[in-house]
């Protein structure tokens, strides 16, 4: 399984995005979020970015007011997950441009779409930013697709139109 859930929480502990890869009821989610957010937010900068919780671990990272929390199985490589969080932020940065909490709040579905490309079924399946963002760009009509199934990059598209 690997990744069990991905949460984005602000420093007041309010959930800004939640994606679970195993089914939990609403009550279970509420309880779990409360518990782990309390745990992680109480920690200081010097302490590990990992917290053991029940039979799994939480890897977290803070960006300005937003905490990214990823629940993983015990045999997962914590440092790699920490960098996965950063990759996610870099990807969102590329899309939104210096992403912030409000970007995610106003475009919740887009943040979800990006996550859907990166993680499926609790596994990291895509780490190329270009591939992650392609569907988003196609949907927004920024990339025209030819029938030959080769996606044109924005640069190529520019060349074509000029």
């Amino acid at each position: 399984m690997g990744i069990r859930f991905i949460l984005m929480v602000n420093k007041q502990g309010q959930t800004r995005l939640a994606q679970y890869y195993e089914w939990l009821t609403l009550e279970e989610r509420r309880a779990l979020e409360g518990e782990i957010v309390r745990k992680c937010l109480a920690r200081n900068e010097q302490q590990c970015s990992f917290v053991e919780h029940r039979n799994y671990k939480i890897v977290y990272r803070r960006y300005a007011s937003l905490f990214f929390l990823v629940g993983v199985d015990n045999d997962e490589n914590e440092l790699a997950i920490l960098e996965f969080i950063h990759l996610l932020v870099e990807t969102m940065d590329r899309h939104f441009g210096n992403v912030c909490e409000l970007d995610i709040m106003f475009h919740l579905e887009k943040a979800h779409f990006m996550l859907e490309e990166m993680v499926m079924n609790g596994c990291i399946v895509e780490t190329s930013k270009a591939n992650i963002l392609t569907p988003e760009m196609v949907m927004n009509g920024c990339i025209v697709e030819t029938s030959n199934a080769n996606i044109l990059t924005p640069v190529q598209l520019l060349e074509k139109t000029s």
Binding site: K11, E52, N131
Partner: protein, 969 residues
């Protein structure tokens, strides 16, 4: 698909998000959400809602659920939205549905149809959206409805679709392995997909498959190694690079797989040595991701058949981790150390002080990890210190989950390594006292058994000593005010069995104590029952010994309490009566026993009979005659469960599958299952007389089952042994080839010990200056810590000796220099070690390099071998993949450099949102590093953002300064 797709956001939505963002407390947030629910309930069922509006409502519903409130009233609208023609609306619908519903929800049946339709769509993004939903919503029963289409999609021209189809298949495998057992070969095929993304995604299911059955995938070792080699050599498109590391996430997954395949398999491991060594050298240890890969390398090295050179690299990496200031790296270092000491226990000594620092760190995560390490390195020499520390920690924490875990570890270590009975009993007492209610009841039973049976040696005096020390400590502990129930049970049992055995305490004293227990814990029926039974035993022993029993008044009260108990039983009638009845019976028994004569009592309750074995005939052979008779009368013989649903059926199922597949296209498992069972049943019915009758004993099937599993067990023996215990492993690897080399490395590590232990990192100076540094450093280290280190890692005499040999030669310093110049370290290391090494090691070492250089000439050759007979296809794939390798970097390179910067954020929100990628294109030659470095306070950006926020009507007010300060830098 509207070209303005999705940038329409109403004032209402903006207001909602704004007010949620400004909410100062959970209560306020709840109020906002509750009123939102009311609004949505009214609005969402209005007729003729435009698509865009609907999409917004659905996202608002997502908010409602995300913030912990029920939005089930709108689920059906999300389901409806999946039917929409617009891709964006459809995908939002699918997203909402996957967030709202679990796979067993009633509405799923409505979605399956849409999914089936969308999987056939011409637009690959529609297919992708449907596949995302498949991965979350399809359960065991609905798998057959989409499986044929998923299989078709595995060959889709679009790599994104192939990738998601693989993931869907993986999901099916997890849900119901039998449903896709005939399709497992697809994972192997997709491993050679010419798109690295698909290949990377395929590693996940393969990891699962290999975890379940290593031996069937040994043939893939060469392929995995060659893929890893290509990745490490940067032959994947640049887009997969992350912080200058080539596809690190794929590397990590591959290393995980290699660790599985090489575990306990010398031949497979030899193929991996070169590539793992390469990665060790190439990893940039200054970045997090480089360290993540390094850590995975260490895990791999400690899992596969040991190689001295790799172990050395791993040890170097670990010491870098432990010396780092970053707690994260320390944590990884401690974890890695825990893995490596299984193979080379001597490595722990170098890091004693680092380990102790981590142990005393205020960071709880690090502390726990260190306890885990200590648990792994516990020996009979250091068990006392470690367990004492663990118990202290156990007492200090509140987290019940972890308390339970650490308590059971203490018990386990105490049982395994206890230096003396006294210590063992005391340790167990502490554990029970502080975590008694959390300890598994089995632990209590174990303790009782241990006290009863002694420690295995036929030394009766030691055993009785153990018992009397237990009795003594328990009588002492009974003075404590509140004890956990489980512990009291143990105490009562032991006092009953052995309280009077050594004659130190009189029966009346013990019975008095037992009565005190029964009274003090009168609410706990189990404890009471134990106490009454113990009383009965004591009286029985007394009577049997011919002594006169003087009943204490309280005992009389206790024993004759049964009338009261009876009343209680009647009152409670149904609930928990069992407990009371137990108690009642015990009380009656006690009364009866007391009235008997000595001889009768002795035969009823013989002294010290708890260890007598009661033989249980597990084979139930006494029933053989009866079974024989029934079979002769025509009864069906018993078929063990393992044979009923075992491999036989699966292969049957597969054959059947192939037949059916040719006859019609769409199959549903629901129709097949009964057929399959019918088939399985026919043979026993019709052939019962010929085949199965000569199986008269019920034992037979089990035996045959055992014999079939025996070979695999024996071949697995090596790997299971690995996990068992340190000493055994050391011997195992040591005796055959390793012993000479470990002894030499031992001596060198002994010498380096000082350099590393007392110096933290920055010394490249010669040995003499370091020596003085050492001595200074040594003063700083508190004597307490040193003492702890000595007791953890070896006797105090040993550490003294080490400090004496610290300045022995220049070798340690050269070692230190080495670790500071990682690039050359490997060559230096090889020069250094090779002359010292014993001939067998050289051979071990030489082989893999020779072997692996040959395959490295053409890595694709091996991939070719993976593909089944269709060589034509594979060669075609090969061509295109080589082409991709040469071509793609350019395209991908262009791509990576495009949108990252995005400094051109427009002030007008609507236009800014409607075409940000266009502005990106203009501004976008900044690479991703720029975007990264521009993170944090950036005046221009924050001003723009401020304007943007104001535009939306959010004013940075004094009520929530924090929120905006953070948001705006």
């Amino acid at each position: 698909m509207g070209s303005q797709g999705g940038f329409y956001q109403s004032k209402e939505f903006l207001d909602l998000v704004k007010s949620i963002g400004e909410a100062r407390s959970k209560a306020e947030e709840d109020r906002i959400v509750l009123s939102e629910i009311e609004t949505l309930k009214r609005r969402i069922s209005e007729p003729d809602i435009p698509k865009r509006k609907m999409k917004e409502y659905i996202i608002r519903l997502v908010y409602v659920e995300m913030l912990g409130h029920d939005a089930s009233f709108g689920y059906i609208h999300a389901v409806k939205m999946t039917h929409d023609d617009s891709l964006l609306v459809k995908r939002t619908g699918y997203l909402a549905v996957t967030l709202f519903l679990n796979e067993d929800h009633d509405l799923i049946i409505l979605i399956v149809n849409t999914i089936q339709k969308d999987l056939k769509s011409d637009n690959y993004l529609v297919v992708c959206a449907a596949l995302n939903a498949v991965c979350k919503l399809i359960n065991e029963e609905t798998i057959p409805a989409v499986l044929p289409q998923i299989v078709e999609l595995l060959a889709h021209p679009k790599e994104a679709v192939r990738k998601k189809a693989i993931v869907a298949l993986h999901r099916f495998y997890q849900k119901s392995p039998s449903s896709v057992s005939h399709l497992v070969s697809n994972f192997r095929k997709r491993l050679c997909d010419n798109d690295p993304g698909v290949m990377g995604a395929t590693l996940c299911p393969l990891f699962d498959l290999i975890t379940n059955d290593v031996n069937s995938y040994k043939d893939l070792v060469i392929s995995f190694v060659s893929i890893l080699k290509q990745v490490a050599e940067r032959r994947l498109p640049k887009a997969y690079d992350y912080h200058q590391m080539p596809a690190p996430f794929i590397q990590i997954k591959l290393l995980k797989i290699l660790a599985l395949l090489g575990s306990g398999d010398k031949q497979a491991s030899e193929n991996m040595y070169t590539v793992v060594g390469d990665i060790f050298r190439k990893c940039d240890s200054s970045s997090n991701i480089g360290n993540a890969v390094l850590y995975e390398c260490i895990c791999c090295v400690s899992s596969i058949y040991p190689n001295p050179k790799l172990l050395e690299s791993a040890a170097d990496a670990i010491s870098r981790f432990l010396k780092s200031d970053s707690h994260n790296l320390k944590y990884m270092g401690i974890d890695a150390l825990g893995r490596l000491i299984k193979i080379s226990p001597e490595i722990a000594e170098q890091h004693q002080l680092a380990v102790i620092d981590c142990l005393e760190d205020p960071d709880d995560t690090l502390k726990r990890k260190t306890f885990e390490l200590l648990y792994k390195m516990t020996k009979s020499t250091n068990v006392e210190v470690i367990v004492d520390r663990m118990i202290d920690y156990m007492i200090s924490i509140n987290d019940n989950h972890y308390k339970t875990e650490i308590a059971s570890r203490c018990v386990e270590l105490a049982e395994q390594f206890a230096p003396s009975n006294q210590w063992f009993i005391q340790t167990m007492n502490k554990v029970f006292e502080h975590a008694g209610d959390l300890v598994n009841i089995k632990v209590a039973h174990n303790l009782m058994r241990l006290i009863a049976e002694g420690f295995g040696e036929d030394d009766n005096t030691a055993d009785s000593q153990l018992r009397s020390s237990a009795v003594e400590s328990y009588l002492h502990i009974l003075g404590e005010p509140k004890l956990p129930s489980v512990f009291l049970q143990v105490i009562c049992w032991v006092l009953g069995e052995y309280g009077t055995a050594d004659g130190k305490y009189s029966a009346s004293y013990i019975t008095g104590k037992l009565c005190d227990v029964a009274e003090a814990y009168s609410n706990d029926e189990t404890v009471k029952a134990y106490a009454v039974t113990a009383l009965m035993k004591i009286y029985a022993f007394e009577i049997a010994a011919g002594r006169k029993v003087d009943m204490l008044p309280e005992v009389g009260f206790q024993a004759l309490d049964y009338k009261f108990i009876l009343c209680k039983c009647i009152l409670i009638a149904v609930f928990d009566v069992v407990d009371y009845l137990h108690l009642l019976q015990r009380a009656y028994e006690l009364q009866a026993v007391i009235g008997l004569d000595a001889h009768a009592v002795e035969s009823i309750m013989p002294a010290d009979a708890s260890c007598e074995d009661i033989e249980v005939d597990k084979a139930l052979s006494f029933l053989n005659g009866y079974i024989q008779e029934s079979i002769e009368k025509g009864a069906q013989p018993y078929i063990p469960e393992s044979e009923r649903s075992g491999m036989l059926n699966i292969s049957n199922f597969r054959n059947q599958d192939h037949h059916e597949a040719s006859s019609h296209g769409l199959r549903f498992e629901a129709y097949e299952l009964p057929k399959q069972t019918v088939q399985a049943r026919i043979p026993p019915a019709s052939l019962a007389s010929t085949e199965l009758v000569p199986v008269p004993e019920p034992m037979y099937p089990r035996e045959s089952y055992q014999t079939t599993t025996v070979p695999s067990v024996s071949s697995d023996a090596a790997s299971t042994e690995l996990k068992l215990r340190l000493d055994g492993v050391q011997k195992k690897w040591g005796r055959q080839t390793h012993f000479p080399s470990t002894s030499t490395s031992n001596s060198t590590s002994q010498k380096t010990v000082n350099g590393i232990t007392q110096v933290d990192g920055s010394n490249t100076a010669n040995s003499r200056t370091r020596e003085t540094y050492d001595s200074r450093k040594q003063v700083e280290i508190s004597p307490e810590k040193q003492k702890l280190a000595a007791s953890l890692f070896g006797g105090p005499s040993k550490t003294e000796k080490k400090s004496a040999t610290g300045h022995k030669s220049s070798k340690p310093s050269s070692h230190m220099v080495k670790s500071h110049a990682p690039k050359s370290s490997m060559e230096v290391a090889s020069e250094k070690t090779s002359p010292v090494q014993q001939p067998p090691d050289l051979l071990d070492f030489g082989e893999p390099t020779v072997k692996t250089t040959a395959p490295s000439l053409d890595p694709f050759k091996h991939l070719e071998g993976l593909l089944e007979p269709t060589t034509q296809v594979s060669s075609a794939v090969n061509h295109s993949s080589t082409a991709a390798v040469t071509k793609s970097p350019d395209i991908m390179g262009l791509y990576t450099e495009t949108p990252a910067g995005a400094h051109h954020k427009d002030n007008d929100i609507l236009s800014g949102l409607s075409n940000p990628p266009m502005t990106n294109m203009v501004g976008g030659t900044t690479a991703m590093q720029v975007a990264q470095s521009s993170k944090g306070p950036n005046l221009k950006d924050s001003l723009e953002k401020d304007a943007l926020v104001r535009q939306m009507g959010v004013t940075p007010s004094s009520q929530n300064p924090n929120l905006f300060k953070d948001l705006l830098g």
